[in-house]
C-alpha cells in the first residue's frame, strides 16, 4: 500500500528540478523585498514546497524558523547596544534567507537521477552535470564524515579551536578532501562502467515532463516578483 503511494508521489506530486532552480533564483530577489506581505507569502510558499518533499524536514525547519523569530523579537525588545544590534541583524538576515534555504533543501532532497535528467534536458555538458549531481550527493555524506573525523581527533587528543583556525582547518579538511578524492576514483569507474559515456539517446526512470504544478509555481513566482517591483 505504502509502496504504491510513494510511487504516485514520485510521478505526480513533486516539482520539476528546473522549476526548483528557477524558484531559487526568483526567491533570491523576493526575500529582499521590503513588503512584509510579499515576504510572508514567499516564506509560506517555500515551506509548502519543502512539505511536499518531506514533512519531517519541513517541521524541523519550521521549528528552527520559529526559534530564530523568537530570538529576533526578544532582541528587538531589549536594550539596543552594539552587541545585541549585531545579533539582531544576524537573526533578521537568517529569517530573510530562510525561503531560499527551504527551496535549496527541497532541491538537495530531489532524486539525483531527476536532477541529472533535468540537466540533460538543458543540454548541459555531461562533465558539469556529473559534477553537480556528485556534489549534491556528497552534501548528505559530509556531515557523517565530519562526525567521524571529529571522533578520530578526540581519540588522538586533538581539538578544534577558534584560536587556531588554520590548524583546525587542517585537522578537519585534510582527511575530508582525501576521502572525497578516494571515493571519486571509484565513483568515476562506476559511472563509466554504467554507460554514462554512451552517445545514443538516453531515457529517464521518472516522468520528467513539466506539469501543472510547475506552471502554477513559476507563474506565482514571476507574479510575486512583478508585484515586488511594482510596489517598490
Amino acid at each position: 500500500m505504502s509502496r504504491s503511494f510513494s510511487r504516485r508521489k514520485d510521478q505526480e506530486g513533486y516539482l520539476h528540478p528546473l522549476t526548483l532552480f528557477a524558484l531559487t533564483i526568483l526567491f533570491t530577489f523576493l526575500v529582499f523585498t521590503r513588503n512584509p506581505w510579499l515576504y510572508g507569502i514567499t516564506c509560506a510558499a517555500s515551506f509548502l514546497i519543502l512539505l511536499s518533499r518531506s514533512a519531517r524536514t519541513c517541521i524541523k525547519n519550521l521549528v528552527f524558523y520559529a526559534g530564530i523569530f523568537g530570538v529576533a523579537v526578544l532582541l528587538a525588545h531589549i536594550s539596543s547596544g552594539f552587541t545585541t544590534g549585531a545579533f539582531l541583524g544576524l537573526a533578521i538576515l537568517i529569517l530573510q534567507l530562510f525561503p531560499i534555504m527551504n527551496i535549496g533543501r527541497a532541491l538537495v532532497m530531489t532524486s539525483s537521477t531527476k536532477i541529472f535528467t533535468a540537466m540533460r534536458q538543458l543540454h548541459l555538458p555531461i562533465s558539469l552535470s556529473v559534477g553537480l549531481v556528485t556534489a549534491l550527493r556528497f552534501l548528505d555524506e559530509i556531515l557523517l564524515r565530519l562526525k567521524e573525523i571529529k571522533a578520530g581527533m578526540k581519540i588522538r587528543g586533538f581539538h578544534a579551536s577558534l584560536l587556531h583556525p588554520v590548524r583546525t582547518f587542517e585537522l578537519y579538511f585534510v582527511p575530508l578532501v582525501y576521502k572525497c578524492l578516494h571515493v571519486s576514483e571509484t565513483l568515476v569507474s562506476s559511472i563509466i562502467a554504467k554507460g554514462i559515456e554512451y552517445e545514443g539517446e538516453k531515457t529517464s526512470y521518472y516522468d520528467m515532463r513539466f506539469k501543472f504544478a510547475d506552471g502554477i509555481s513559476l507563474f506565482a513566482g514571476v507574479a510575486l516578483l512583478g508585484v515586488a517591483l511594482w510596489t517598490s
Partner: protein, 482 residues
Amino acid sequence: MDIMKVNIERFTYQGAEKSSLHAIHFAIAPGKLVVLTGNSGCGKTTLTRVMNGLIPDQYEGTLDGKVTLLDQNLHDFKTGTLAKVIGNVFQNPSDQFFTRKAEDEVALVGENLGMPQAELRKRVKKAFEYMSIAHLMDKNLNELSGGEKQRVAIASTLVYDTKIIFFDEPSASLDQEGIRDLQGILKLLKASGRTIIIAEHRLYFLEDLYDKLYVMKDGTFIKEFDAGELKSSDCKDLGLRAIDFSALVPHNTTKTGERVFSAKDVHVSVGKKELISNLSFDLHSDEIMGIVGTNGIGKSSLGRVLCGLAGKKQDISWGKTQRERLKNSYYMMQDVDYQLFFDTVENEALANGKKISDAYLAEVSWIIKHIDLWNKRSEHPQNLSGGQKQRLALANAFLSEKQILILDEPTSGLDYMHMDKIAELIFELAKGRPTLIITHDIELLLKVCQTVLLIKQDGYEKLDLQTAEYHKLISYFEQMMK
C-alpha cells in the same frame, strides 16, 4: 565457445616505468566462476580493469595484447555499450553509488543506455526482487548495511541481461554474515548462467564455487587450480588466505599476567535501541582479546563505548566517564583515514602527545622502520596504500601512552602477507598493554589473541584460545558460513 579470451603480452600504466601485467593468456567459458587471487599489488585489479574495459577508458596505459568478449575485440564495442554485457561490483559499494536512492542507482545504467521507461521500471523491480531486496527500493543508500548496499550494487548489474559480472574484493567490507550472504548470491548468479570473475584475498567462501582459480604474482599467473584443487597446504605454500578453517590453530602461547582492568554490566545502545546489556569481562596484563559477534550485534559500538566516544557513565575500571576512558584508552577506527591528519608519515607519528626529545625521536624512528615505512616517511599518509595506512595507524596507537588499546578491524581488506605483518606488529608492540581486537578475521584472531569474547544474540562467553576452547571459535565461524 569461450565468452572471453585474454591475451596480454604486456600492460604498462601511463607514466609507470615497470609493466603491471605481462604474459597473461587464458580463456573463460560461459557460466564459469573464475577467481583471481594473490597479494596486494600482484596485478589482479589491473587485470580486471583490462578485462572490463576501464583500461584504457579511465586508466590510461599501453596495452600490448587483446581481450575479446563474445568474439569481438573489447575496444570495438561502441562507447558505453559494454555496460549491457558487463556488470561491475567495486570493493566498497558505498563509494560506487552515484545517486542517493536505491532504485535510482539500479535504474542508472538503463537510463544511460536509453532503455524505454516502462521497460526500465519493470526491469529495476525485477532486479530488486531477484536480489530479495524489493523492500529497499525507495530507501536512502546511506541508511543501508554493508551487505544491503552490496545487494543493490549487484542488482544494478542485472537490469540488462549481463553476461559477465566482475567483483573487486567483494568481501572486504563485509562481516561474517555478509560474507555468507554474498556466497549465496554468487551461487544464485552462477546458477543463472552468468560468468563471474572475482578478484579476492579471502578464499574460504569461494571454496565450493570456483571453477578456476588463478594465483598472481608480479603481474602474471604463477599457478592455476581447477575446481576443488586448492588445498590448505597450497595456501600456506603460496602465502594465500586460508581456504578452510579446520587447519587453523592458535599461535599466541604467551601467558597473560595478573588482572589489571575490568568492565562490569556494560550497556551499548544506538539511539533508543539497546544492543548489548550487562556485558562483563576482566582484562589481564599482556592480554590480547578478540571481540567477535554476529552482524549488527554492536561490536563497533561496544568499541566506541569502551574507548569513551560513547556510552556516558559505565562501570569500567579504566574510566567511569567518557572523558576518563578517552584519556586512558586508544581506539583505532575501522576506517583509519579519519585518524590521519598530518602532511608526512613522520609528522603523523610524532604527533602523539609526547614532548619532542631525543628519546622520543629515536622511538618514532624505530617504530617507522619497524612498520616498514621508513622509505615513505616524507610521503603524505593519505597517499599510502590501505595496508600501509593501517600499519601507520597501528604505530600511532602504540606510540600513544594510553593504558589500553582497542583495534577495530585492523586487517579488513588485507591479503595474507599484510595480515601477517599486522599480526606480528600487534604481537610485538602490545606487550605490557591489554589490547582488544574487534574483528571477523579468524586468521588474525588465531595468530595473536589468547582470548576471545564471543558475543551472540542470546549472551556472551569468553573463550581461552590456549585451551581446546579454540575449537569453539572455529565451529562458530564454520557455523556462520552454513
